[in-house]
């Protein structure tokens, strides 16, 4: 009865261990990818995985790099740093040159630290950590590392984009954020940039909520209304964002919602038609940008994904990451992480939408264009079948978000 199950599990595990320890010939360039693929945050990792696989297939069809194809190797980290570190060990065992991670600044911090230590202690088996979405500013300031490359604008930059997108008529804003490192840094950065770029705006309220615990946001909406705010600026994600916007819409509050993450998987469905022309999000890519600027090739690229998957291509911006990898590997002429890292910093690439991007040398933070999308009817590509989609209401160029940094990077000896 029970032995059968045990035997199956055991053989499966032995297989996994054997796979973990076996060094395969490097016919492909392996990119390890770790994110939560099960548990309460599974949709994040799952959505990213689908989109990345499509992008990699596209890049490989264009020849990959140095004649080799890229290969994505997913690892489920179940939102725990220890599992991400085990994934890192598995990746280094197989001599993979890259490990990528998008979700969770706590996991990112653990990975940066572990990658630094590993690369220092094992100079012949190094690995580069590609950060596709962990946006805490500290990761390229106090915790910056030569081996870490971030491909999404950090909190400070996103906050600046959000502040720049505030219309002139908005003079009273309310801030709500989640009570942990990320939310607290959003709070800090938004206030800094408001003071710097929009001194006419008054912050009438400033709240922190416990992460994932608040089920009913109506009391907050009451407070916001009582304070007379015209716009709500929030870095909330997941249920904390969905429920907040729902509560505001239900109460008939005349508010505009400026968010970081309303465009990600699940957001549009949760917001619904009630959010028409009220919800804004800062995003690296909007599906309606390509038709708006008339870029036919990019539009075809995103449309093909939508037809294949019946799923929004909100993370198409990941293509820029792989174009950087492609360029860096070709420039370095080898798959050696140290050479690739030196080749990748200070690289400039025109991304597939036609905008200029650059990987900064001093802190390994990429700067790129960013958009502010408004959730409204009447757009060419709607989001998650709701009938409403993200229309671009503002475009911020890369050079406008080239913020200073405090990184004191330690470089290894040049190779």
């Amino acid at each position: 009865m029970l032995q059968g199950k045990w035997l199956t599990a055991f053989s499966g595990i032995a297989l996994a261990i054997a796979c973990g320890g076996h060094a395969w010939a490097q016919a492909t360039i392996k990119v390890a990818y770790t994110d939560p693929l099960s548990g309460p945050f599974a949709q994040v990792g799952d959505a990213n995985l689908k989109q990345m696989q499509y992008i990699i297939d596209y890049i490989n069809a264009k020849g990959g790099a140095l004649g080799k194809k890229f290969e994505l190797v997913p690892f489920d980290n179940k939102s725990q740093p220890s599992d991400a570190l085990i994934a890192l060990k598995s990746a280094t065992d197989q001599n993979m040159p890259f490990i990528m991670q998008c979700s969770g600044s706590n996991i990112a911090a653990a990975l940066i630290d572990a990658t630094n230590k590993h690369n220092e202690r094992n100079p012949d088996n190094r690995i580069i950590y590609l950060n596709c979405g962990a946006v805490a500013t500290e990761l390229t300031n106090e915790q910056c590392s030569f081996w870490h490359f971030r491909f999404d604008l950090h909190v400070g930059m996103k906050a600046e984009v959000m502040v720049r997108a505030l219309p002139k008529e908005v003079t009273k804003v309310y801030l709500i954020n989640q009570d942990y490192l990320f939310g607290q840094s959003v709070q800090r950065e938004v206030k800094t940039y408001l003071a710097k770029l929009r001194p006419d705006v008054q912050v009438v309220g400033d709240e922190l909520i416990p992460l994932g615990k608040v089920k009913d946001f109506s009391p907050y909406v009451t407070k916001i209304k009582a304070a007379g705010a015209q716009a709500l600026l929030t870095g909330n994600w997941g249920p904390d964002m969905n429920l907040l916007i729902k509560a505001g819409v239900d109460a008939g509050a005349d508010l505009r919602y400026y968010t970081f993450y309303a465009h990600l998987a699940g957001g549009p469905t949760a917001i619904g038609v009630g959010g028409d022309n009220r919800v804004m999000a800062v995003m690296a890519f909007g599906e309606n940008v390509a038709p708006e600027i008339g870029n036919k090739e990019a539009e075809a690229f995103t449309q093909a994904f939508r037809e294949k998957n019946k799923f929004d291509f909100s993370a198409a911006g990941f293509r820029t990451i792989f174009e950087y990898l492609q360029a860096a590997v070709n420039k370095a002429g080898s798959v050696d992480p140290t050479k690739i890292a030196f080749a990748m910093e200070d690289l400039t690439i025109k991304d597939f939408l036609g905008f200029d991007t650059r990987m900064r040398k001093d802190d390994h933070q990429m700067i790129s264009e960013y958009f502010v999308g408004t959730f409204k009817k009447g757009v060419k590509y709607d989001a998650e079948g709701t009938g409403l989609g993200w229309a671009t209401s503002a475009t911020i160029q890369a050079k406008d978000v080239d913020q200073p940094n405090t990184c004191k990077m330690k470089r290894p000896g040049a190779v």
Partner: protein, 425 residues
């Protein structure tokens, strides 16, 4: 010399555990598999954690939903101590860092325990649940002690080793973990033989009678709680050395649930049960999750099967064979087992195939993976795989039922025979 003869199983296990990683040693690159060593270190740490949980659940009958709080607080304490050593304020050999974690766990075990052990049974469980929620929320909010979301990170290369070891490689850390695991396990084993251990068992079995004997059950609970915190803290200290970072997930409900799973699956109350359970759970989590994203479902099903048919855990199942083994008739079970094995395997494979097909159709397909067994790609939209899976499941279940019946008869026969021979304990 006689001690060697008495404790040879322990030494044998130590030797096996030291040799095991070499199976995965990469001879061409002259290095160990970091993955295997980290996984085994993880098993070591979780085993200590599970054993400390067993002190509460198995020995004292206290079901706690917040045991990870003690583990995590011990880890945070150890991390702060290491950072203090690095900055020169303290001196502590690297080998004794887990002890710092243990003392942290002991302190918090006493402080929280004072509140928590005022009640017993279900009320105790609910208080620990509330406490767990509070501490894990606090761990996110407060930067000073918990370091917020990013946690506290350390550099384990402290250059204060008693043996002159640098602890740069996973192999050195693994050896340290092994040594501490043995020490902790031995100590916990000894604790069950102390008066406190015996009275804890007594309060578990018959609460009122223990009161009448004259011991204050509240003090027993408190001391047991604090001591289990000590050992959990040792586990926490080792965790910090392995991963060099401690974040809020070490105090979360998920970690506590892991301990509960491990102890229950392995078998509560005994000693080897929790260790066995830990191995199964860690391999399921870190091994099977690499192969399938439905691994949580398997955990759930395994759980339910264990709870319904084997409440004594895996160890309980093994020990059920003791009377027959003592009667010397164990090999007569070989044939019934062999007969029951194929249908069981069939049911298992049918179930796994069914789940994987369903999961793939809704989730996995879009992940761009191809569903393949042994290199053959299988088309999940065709009816054939589904039919095969269903047939395996149904036919296997019917066949198993018949075999189980025969097995049961044989088993009862053997137990009866053992009883007559006086081999029942």
């Amino acid at each position: 010399m006689s001690m060697l003869r008495r404790h040879w199983p322990w030494l044998l296990v130590l030797v096996i555990l030291l040799a095991f990683p070499f199976l995965f040693y990469d001879w061409s690159k002259a290095r160990h598999s970091g993955f295997v060593l980290t996984l085994m270190s993880e098993i070591g740490v979780m085993a200590i954690f599970a054993l400390s949980y067993n002190m509460l659940m198995g020995q004292a009958g206290l079901l706690s939903f917040g045991h990870a709080v003690l583990f995590g607080m011990g880890a945070y304490c150890a991390a702060h101590v290491v950072n203090l050593v690095k900055s020169g304020t303290l001196w502590l050999p690297t080998e004794l860092v887990p002890l710092a974690g243990g003392l942290g766990g002991l302190f918090f075990g006493y402080v929280f325990g004072w509140l928590v052990t005022k009640q017993r049974a279900t009320a105790f469980a609910m208080i620990t649940m509330g406490l767990g929620e509070l501490v894990s929320a606090a761990a996110l909010m407060f930067m000073g002690f918990f370091g917020g979301e990013g946690g506290i990170n350390i550099d384990r290369v402290m250059d204060t080793s008693l043996l002159g070891v640098k602890y740069t490689s996973p192999w050195q850390v693994y050896c340290l973990v092994l040594v501490w695991a043995f020490i902790a396990a031995a100590l916990m084993r000894l604790q069950t033989q102390t008066p406190l251990g015996s009275i804890a068992n007594a309060t578990r079995d018959n609460f009122e009678r223990a009161q009448f004997v004259g011991y204050d059950p509240r003090m027993v609970r408190l001391m047991q709680f604090a001591l289990s915190g000590f050992f959990a803290g040792i586990g926490g200290g080792l965790y910090v050395l392995i991963y060099e970072i401690v974040t809020f997930d070490t105090v979360s409900a998920g970690k506590s649930a892991n301990a509960l799973l491990a102890v229950y699956i392995g078998g509560a109350g005994g000693f080897f049960g929790p260790i066995l359970g830990t191995i199964v759970v860690v391999l399921l989590q870190s091994g099977v999750s690499l192969l399938s994203n439905a691994w949580l479902l398997y955990v759930g099903v395994l759980f339910i099967v264990m709870v319904m048919y084997a409440p004594g855990g895996l160890i309980g199942l093994i020990f059920m064979h003791m009377p027959i083994w003592r009667a010397g008739r164990l090999r007569e079970l070989l044939l019934p087992y062999a007969r029951a094995f194929p249908p069981a395997l069939l049911v298992m494979l049918g179930f796994v195939l069914m789940v994987e097909l369903a999961s793939f159709t809704t989730i996995g397909a879009a992940q761009g993976k191809k569903f393949s067994i042994g290199g053959n790609i299988i088309d999940t939209t065709a009816p054939l795989p589904w039919v095969v899976a269903t047939a395996a499941l149904v036919l296997g279940a019917l066949w198993l039922r018949r075999e189980a019946h025969g097995f049961r008869e044989r088993w009862d026969e053997l137990i009866e025979g053992a009883r007559q021979q006086g081999a029942m304990s």
